[in-house]
């Protein structure tokens, strides 16, 4: 097992169509986790979510998150992010980021459609401010 540098960890997060697995906590204290599409803005991670989704409601109540992205083939690797979120519902900002997210996961030709669909009223724009990163590679090299 080797530790990734911070630069490697961010490159890993940004590679291809890897999704983030976002953990939040429900009102009754149970954990929740869901895959999300996200992009980076400097050291922040940005995603959209519907205000009535489980993660959306959880984040409005408690902004603390953990998120992981991993490589599911040998020798395996993962990045784990811990942080807190800032939430806005500004339509222009939402649309800008939803379009970039659409480009990452659906391709440039569907980015505009995705951006439009995911910036309607009720969609939240969530910015993860990272407190800590744990990143390891070559996990199975033992």
């Amino acid at each position: 097992m080797k530790k990734m540098s911070k630069a490697e960890a961010y490159e890993f997060l940004a590679t291809g169509t890897r999704t983030g697995k976002l953990a939040t906590v429900r009102a009754d204290g149970r954990p929740h986790v869901a895959p999300i599409w996200f992009v980076l803005d400097g050291e922040d991670l940005i995603f959209n979510t519907w205000h009535e989704s489980v993660k959306g409601k959880n984040l409005v109540r408690d902004g603390r998150i953990a998120l992981t992205v991993d490589e599911e083939i040998a020798p395996y690797a993962f990045v784990l992010v811990e942080g807190t979120v800032e939430i806005t519902d500004d339509p222009a900002e939402s649309r800008k980021w939803a379009t970039r997210i659409g480009a990452r996961y659906m391709g440039a030709d569907q980015a505009e459609a995705f951006g439009q669909r995911n910036s309607v009223p009720g969609e939240l724009l969530v910015r993860i401010k990272v407190d800590k990163i744990i990143a390891q590679k070559e996990l199975a090299a033992w």
Copy 2:
């Protein structure tokens, strides 16, 4: 987007070397998430963890979990499991399951070595009893 049947969802969980992203809650109420290697035993999910890992300590204190497995390429799909865990440290059981888990993720030739390494004293065997499954496919078919 289409709903997977329960049988499809379990087949999805068991395919290849897909990892589970396991969400738990820390003592201070923050969420935690980490990739895990697991196998199925009927409708249960089974994995090993070190007793002093974050997830190990969290699960001993609060056995409620959420876990997701997803497909990171279009048209995208995911399975989300919610449940609670049963924890044991029986060495023979631990070794049996650690060997099966090693076979899944490292291949048959390394299964015994993995089984031995992950059933030493201090390794916990964790069985997820599933309360609820949410499983969707063709997410990007819109």
